[in-house]
Symmetry: C2
């Protein structure tokens, strides 16, 4: 399956951003799944990613530490759920690595890659439990945040 | 991997029950994953399972409806996370099918099967986010409940 499962998409509960990336699905996959690449684009500039840990398997850890321009760091720990190389990556902050329920998670992300000629369509969907969480995520800057980092992915991926 | 990942086990946060079942791993797996079998043993008697729906794949639904002796039904909806036939099954109520965060989930279950000569060791672990949830699950009757249903599995599986 190379696209999000339509059964899981709900406009009232989900947020979506997509971009065409000037690289192959293999390169875009590397950008999403290798810490040295993730650190280059996954925080909206001038913020940075201070650290990134990846254990790329279902149940494995996806941990990253955004650092704001004034030096405030915020550790985010997620658990990978599906790892389909070059096609589909699913993770959530509602579970810790090893699938243990987390104290305060609120989203599941589905990232898919589809070849489009020389480009790759990269689609990210964030799923929430209710409209409150969706709206809160949007107000937190989902479109500015994910929209901006996907713009940064578009710039970065072709340089890999 | 045929046993729970030791990294995920925490005596302060987890509850475990195990039983030797007089059937093959294949038969024990069928008892856990086919609705017509689940309905025969998954509620502590004299309670019953009024309904059961299974879509046996990561992200798929595991829904069951325990009915108490006085007719009260309670729908439980979980999401499968790992499906390794005859070896390991992982599901959680912290996510809905399709991985959407659930409103009020509190456990992830890991069920493993290991051949022991003519028998199969069936181990179930329930993981929680904190000691409060663990203790609450224990007080809800985890050992009576899961202990009893695993006794029922021991009785039922050899009849399949």
């Amino acid at each position: 399956m190379s696209a999000p499962d339509p059964q899981t998409l709900d406009p009232k509960l989900d947020l979506m951003v997509e971009r065409e990336v000037g690289a192959s699905p293999q390169t875009a996959w590397a950008a999403w799944t290798q810490p040295e690449h993730v650190r280059q684009w996954y925080a909206p500039a001038p913020g940075t990613i201070a650290d990134c840990e990846i254990d790329l398997r279902p149940g494995g850890v996806f941990r990253f530490v955004p650092r704001s321009p004034d030096g405030v760091e915020h550790r985010v720990t997620c658990c990978y759920l599906e790892v389909q190389p070059f096609e589909r990556l699913v993770w959530t902050d509602a579970l810790l690595p090893g699938y243990r329920p987390a104290a305060a998670g609120f989203f599941t992300a589905v990232m898919t890659l589809e070849p489009r000629g020389d480009l790759t369509l990269c689609t990210t969907v964030a799923m929430h439990r209710d409209e409150h969480d969706r709206d809160h995520h949007a107000e937190m800057g989902f479109y500015d945040g994910w929209g901006t980092v996907l713009d940064q992915l578009v710039t970065y991926a072709p340089t890999i």
